[in-house]
Each structure stands twice: as C-alpha cells, then as structure tokens.
C-alpha cells in the first residue's frame, strides 16, 4: 500500500497546487480589466440620474459593497474568506440575487448533463474504436472518416445540427431550456417527463462529439497493441483469440483513461457551448448571461466552479488510474 499512498499524496499535492493557481488566476484576471469595474456598473445603474452627489453616493456604496477601495492583497483575503463560506457576492445583472444562489441550480443541471454524457460518449467511442481496429475492413473505412470529421467539428456546430434536424425539422424534441417554459420545478410526472425530453438533444450532442475523438484514439492504440510482440507470442503459444483480445484491450484502455483525464477540460468546455446553443440552464448558459450582463462576480464564480469541476474530475481519474494500473504502484515503490 505504500506505493499507492505516495502516488495518492503526490496527486493530492498537485491537485492543491493547481487549485491554488487556478483560484489566484480566477481572482486576478477579471480585476486586471482596464478602468474601474464599479464605475462601469454605477454608470449603468445611475443612467438618467442628473444628481452628481447621488451618483457619487451610489459609487461609494458599491465600492464599499465590493471592497474595491481596499488594497488588492486585502481584497484577495476577503474574497478567500467569503468563498470558503460559499459567498460569492451579489450578481450585478440579477441583483438582488446572490451569485451563489444563481449558481446553485446551474451546477446541478451541468453536472447531470455533462458527466453522464462524457462518460457515455467515452464508452461508446472506445468500443467503436476497438471494433474498428479489430474488425477492420468496411466498418473501419466508414467509421474513421466520420470520426475524424465529427471530432474536428466544433461542439456548438454539432449542437446546432442536432437542434435543427431533431428540434426544428422533425419536432421530436424541444429546442431550448431544461424544462417546459410553462412549468415550475417540482416532482410531478409531467415535470420529470419534460426534463427528460429536454435532456435528450444536449445529451446526445455531447455524446456524439466525445465519440469521435475517443474512437480515433482507441483505434490507433488498439492497432498498436494488436501488432505488439506479446500478441504474436501469445498466438504462437496457441492462446485463444478471445483471451488475447481481452489483454489487448485492457492494455489499450490504460492510455485512453489518461487521455480522458487530459481531455476532460476541453470536453467540459465544448459541453458548455452545447448548453448555450440549447439555452440549457447550466453553467455555460449562466456564463453567457454573465458576459452579456457585464457581470464579473458571476463570470468569475462560474469559471472558478468550472475549474474546480475539471480539476476534481482530473484528480478522480488519476486516482482511479493508479488503482487500475499496477505499473504505477511498482514505479512508486522503488
């Protein structure tokens, strides 16, 4: 177990370091914006006001509220303390709702949409890629160009295609939102059905995009493994084909898991744009609203949460990888 613990601690340390760096970047970058962010908001709030002292009072109240009148370092520690309490401040565009309140529901929608979709896409993609490597012939010749095309296609493009074909053209599924616009979230059957129907198009958009990239990677890994010496040796030994295939795909899977860890950031990014296309009430759509409403507390908090989600997913995959791949244990035990 010693090897695992070292591997685990190493990964945990790295997770913390990246988290701190990501956090600092999330804090600093929006504040590097030229000009005074509060001034811009006040200008919007005070539109049509002619009383200079009134504008000044609003300005002072806001600088006090957001703490922009303090030194940067102090702001940073206040921000850290507030974030630890789950307080991201007020949303500018949806005032008086707080950012935490806006994001609370968005996180649920995003998690429920993206992670199942990415995992399903990853599984289907790997199965198809392995099949293409093993079956070859026509199946391979059809699947590969499609996969290359799909994986090069931007995520939002795929979402638009599915939306236009199945939502607007065939009218099988609704085109936008997470549930019917005439409903209030509750636990009735009608609402759950509406959620399921609205879920399909965004879900399959993400799945299709994930399939493309994964199938290509798995195919080349499997071809590489199928030509490895140990396969030839096993064939000479007369081991059954089925058993060899089992070994081959286990070996080809391992790099694919690392691949998932590295690609998860990009995949989540693509999935956010799928949410935007379908106006799905998740983080991507919230981010869009934040950008449209010049709402930097909201943008900063959404990107922070996305970063944390990606880092955590990465961390979990790497821990799983350590458990699955015995070589990791061996390397750490030396």
């Amino acid at each position: 177990m010693k090897g695992y613990r070292r591997y685990f601690l190493n990964k945990l340390g790295w997770f913390l370091v990246t988290f701190v760096c990501g956090f600092i970047l999330n804090f600093t970058l929006p504040r590097l914006m030229p000009g005074d962010p509060v001034a811009a908001i006040v200008a919007r709030m005070a539109q049509g006001m002619s009383d200079a002292t009134g504008v000044q009072a609003i300005y002072e109240q806001y600088t006090e509220l957001f703490g922009t009148n303090r030194p940067m370092l102090e702001q940073f520690f206040i921000y850290v303390r507030n974030v630890l309490r789950g307080d991201f401040g007020f949303s500018f565009s949806m005032y008086p709702r707080t950012v935490a309140d806006v994001l609370k529901s968005a996180i649920g929608w995003t998690m429920a949409l993206q992670f199942p979709a990415i995992i399903v896409g990853w599984l289907i993609g790997n199965t198809l890629g392995a099949l293409a490597a093993y079956v070859k012939g026509g199946f391979d010749k059809v699947l590969m160009p499609i996969s290359i095309f799909v994986s090069n296609f931007p995520a939002f493009g795929m979402a638009v295609f599915l939306l236009v074909i199945f939502g607007v053209g065939l009218e099988w599924f609704p085109t936008s939102g997470g549930y019917g616009y005439d409903m209030i979230p509750n636990f009735s059957w009608g609402f759950i059905w509406s959620v399921i129907v609205h879920y399909q198009l965004p879900f399959w958009s993400i799945v299709v995009i994930a399939i493309g990239g994964q199938a290509i990677g798995m195919r080349s890994m499997a071809i590489y493994e199928l030509n490895a010496d140990y396969v030839k040796y096993a064939r000479f030994m007369g081991i059954k084909d089925r058993k060899i295939i089992g070994y081959v795909f286990r070996n080809a899977m391992l790099p694919q898991i690392t691949g998932l860890a590295l690609a998860i950031g990009t995949m989540v990014g693509g999935a956010l744009f799928v949410e935007i296309v379908f106006s799905y009430p998740g983080l991507g759509y919230t981010l869009l609203n934040g950008v449209m409403g010049q709402d930097y507390p909201l943008i900063s908090a959404s990107t922070l949460i996305i970063t944390v989600m990606v880092l955590s997913a990465n961390f979990i995959i790497e821990i799983l990888y350590g458990v699955i791949d015995p070589r990791i244990k061996a390397a750490q035990a030396d």
Binding site: G22, N26, P30, N152, L262, F273, V291
Partner: protein
C-alpha cells in the same frame, strides 16, 4: 527538401486536404476582387431575406415586354398563392363558420374560392380564434383577390397637376420580361442576415479574417511552444523544472477558462481581431511545448549533437543546425493544428460574446453569434448560420486531413 515535398504530395490525404484548403483560400482572395461591395454594407430593409434572385419590380415594368403563351401559367399562378396549406386553412375557417364538410372540396379551386367569397367576412365571430389567426385570414383573403381574373393589371402614375391617376400601361397575364434586360437584378446566393447584409460577401470576408486570426494565433502559440520546449529540453535543470511546472499547471487548468477570463478582462473596446488572435495564441502553447521538449530530450544525447558539442559550437548553432531540422516536420504539423483550433476558439469566444468588437470586421464566430442571438436556427433561417458552420468545418477538416497526411509521411509507423 525537394524530395520531402514530393513525398508529401504523394499522400492522398494531404493532397485532398490541401486542395480543399487552397480552394477556400482562392475564394477568399479572388471573390473580393470581383465583388467589391463593402462586406458589412447593409443592403436590405428588414432581416433574413431568403437566398434567391431579386429582380427590381419598377425596372421590370419599364423593360421590353415579351408575350409567352404557356399552358401552365395560370395553374402556377394559383398554386403560388393558394398552396395546400392555404386550402386546408380555408377549409378550417369554413368549417368553423358552419359550412358542412360535404360541400367543401379543397381540390376544386373555383368552388373553394366561390364559397370563400360568399362567406368570408373578417368580422364574423369564430369561436376560439386568436388574434394572430384572425390577422392571418385577413392577409390570406387579401392575397386571394383577383386570383381567378383573366384581366391584366394597370400601371398608373399620379399626375401632379390634376391629382388623378393616369393609365400608363397594362400588364397582361402572359407578359414576360427577360431578366437579362432588367437594369437592376441582385443575386443573393445566401440571402441577407439579421442586419440586412449580403451573407455571401460577409462570409467570404469573415473566412479571410478568421484564417488570419488562426494564422496569427497559431504562429504565436507555435513560437512560444517551440522556444519553451527547446529551452526545457536542451538546457534542462532549473529551467526545465520551471517550464514543466507551468506546462503541467496549464494542462489541467482548462484553457478555455483562461481564454474567457483574459478576453473579458481586456474589455470590449480594446478587443480587436488582432488582440483576440494574440490571446488565443498565448493560451494554447502547452501541447507544443510538451511535445517539442520530449523530442529534444531524445535528440539531445544523439551522437551528432555530441559531436557538435565537442567541436565547440555554440548552443544557438547546435539548436539551429542539429536539433531544429529534426523537429521541423513536427513543428509544421503542430502549427497546422494550432491554426485550426484557433479558428474554432475564435468562434467559441464570439458565441459567448467575447469575440472581436463587432463594428469593424466580420469573423466566422461573430456571424454565428448574431445568427444565434436573432434565433436564426429556431426560425429556420438556415442561410444565416449553416454556410458559416460549413466553412468552419471545411477549414478545420482540410487542415486535419493535411496533418494526418503529413503524419503518415514523417511517421513511418503510422503508414498503412
């Protein structure tokens, strides 16, 4: 060098991708020479005109008249205004009005119109009809006026002295004009967009700008990646540790988050196309750095590099003469990939509303952004977004094909 290029052009995939790319490039270069309209000029009053040939009505009245006696002209004229949908709608109204279904035959135009003329009255109360439906029927009724008439239409002008209309000309039902003789005909192959701009002209310009953004971003990313990779791989030690720390850090912190944050912090006013390109470039060097470093480390201990070191060559000389030529093919492939991902990155940023500021040049992403904001995809205005998506797909697909082709040439293990 000549041999390598010949080899590259023997790869089917590369040639295919290269031809698509060159075709796109040629269109981008040649089209503005022929059609010199400003790409952002607003030409239509109203949004989303359908693709087609727009013939000036005023000019066609003045053009020379040709009489063609075509048998199906009347049938076409009726079908154009009274399609299946309109017939069904009329039947629906008549049923609601109280006409028995057996009397209504929607296939018999004359009988249907007769019933309609006798009974339709915009004021008659029909239960459960919304205002929009009522207005629709009023419009339908107006469009049916004179559908069965065999008379021509009179063109009259207003006489300013007497204030009366004076007949100038009668346009018969079998009068035709030759489109080639009408002074003003505008072909809009892709219609107009939400602002009333010609989509095709805008698209060609946008593709050019997006390619430039991709190129600038790709070159920046590749240069940074190459420099850092060479430093980390060849110099090693502390430099390597620092660079690898940064690289590992930005591998896990999602690049698009940085892209969004940086673009936002620059602010709408300062975000020109060049700035966006630079931001994309500065956030996407990570993979190039990793790959270059790995290759340089394996090259560093090769014999020819050691020999060069023994001969007392400077580090710069060794890097340029003994290392770069070996990774050149890889760097070119990385550059191609960077360009295609940068084009997609620009489009993604623009969809979020963080693209270049909108007033100066169109980009592929901005066109998509506007199309989505105006709900072109929900309203079925395919010409506003589909050509843009196809252009993006063509560019990225061609570049990836070129890349796969190059990969097979330079990486014998991948050859089939």
């Amino acid at each position: 060098m000549k041999h390598t290029i010949r080899q590259v052009f023997h790869s089917g995939k590369f040639v295919f991708g290269f031809s698509i790319f060159v075709a796109v490039l040629l269109i981008v270069i040649v089209y503005p020479l022929i059609i010199t309209d400003p790409p952002l000029g607003i030409i239509s009053q109203g949004t989303f005109f359908e693709p087609g040939i727009y013939v000036n009505v005023y000019d066609s009245i003045g053009s020379e008249r040709y009489i063609l006696n075509l048998d199906d002209a009347t049938a076409n004229r009726i079908a154009g205004r009274l399609g299946d949908k309109e017939r069904l709608d009329m039947k629906e109204w008549l049923l609601a009005y109280g006409i028995p279904e057996s009397e209504i035959d929607i296939a018999d135009t004359e009988q249907l119109l007769g019933l309609w003329e006798n009974h339709y009255d915009p004021k008659s109360p029909i239960a459960g009809m919304t205002n929009a439906q009522r207005n629709y029927y009023i419009r339908l009724d107006a469009s049916l006026g004179g559908l069965l008439s065999t008379e021509g239409a009179i063109i009259a002008v207003n006489n300013p002295d007497t204030g009366t209309l004076e007949e100038k000309k009668v346009v018969g039902q079998s009068d035709y004009v030759n489109v080639g003789q009408v002074a003003n005909v505008r072909v809009l192959p892709l219609g107009t967009d939400n602002f009333g701009r010609d989509v095709l002209t805008e698209l060609v310009k946008a593709a050019g700008v997006s390619l430039q953004i991709g190129l600038v971003a790709g070159i920046i990313a590749t240069l940074i990646g190459l420099t850092l990779g060479l430093l980390a791989g060849y110099v090693g030690g502390l430099v390597d540790d620092v660079i690898m720390f940064l690289t590992n850090l930005f591998t896990v912190i999602p690049g698009f988050v940085l892209l969004i944050l940086i673009s936002y912090s620059i602010g709408q006013e300062r975000r020109g196309a060049a700035t966006v390109a630079a931001v994309i470039g500065f956030t996407s060097w990570i993979w190039t750095t990793r790959a270059v470093r790995a290759q340089v480390i394996s090259l560093r201990s090769r014999d020819h590099v050691n020999l060069s070191k023994l001969s007392g060559h400077s580090i710069a000389y060794i890097i340029f003469a003994d290392i770069l030529p070996y990774i050149a093919s890889y760097v070119v492939m990385a550059l191609i990939l960077q360009i295609s991902t940068a084009i997609i990155a620009e489009a993604s940023l623009s969809i979020l509303g963080l693209g270049p500021r909108t007033s100066e040049v169109p980009t592929l992403g901005l066109m998509l952004n506007w199309a989505f904001i105006y709900q072109a995809h929900i309203l079925g205005k395919w010409w506003a977004y589909l050509p843009v998506l196809v252009t993006i797909a063509l560019i990225t697909f061609s570049m990836n094909l070129m890349n796969t082709g190059l990969d097979q040439v330079f990486n014998p293990a991948l050859r089939e």
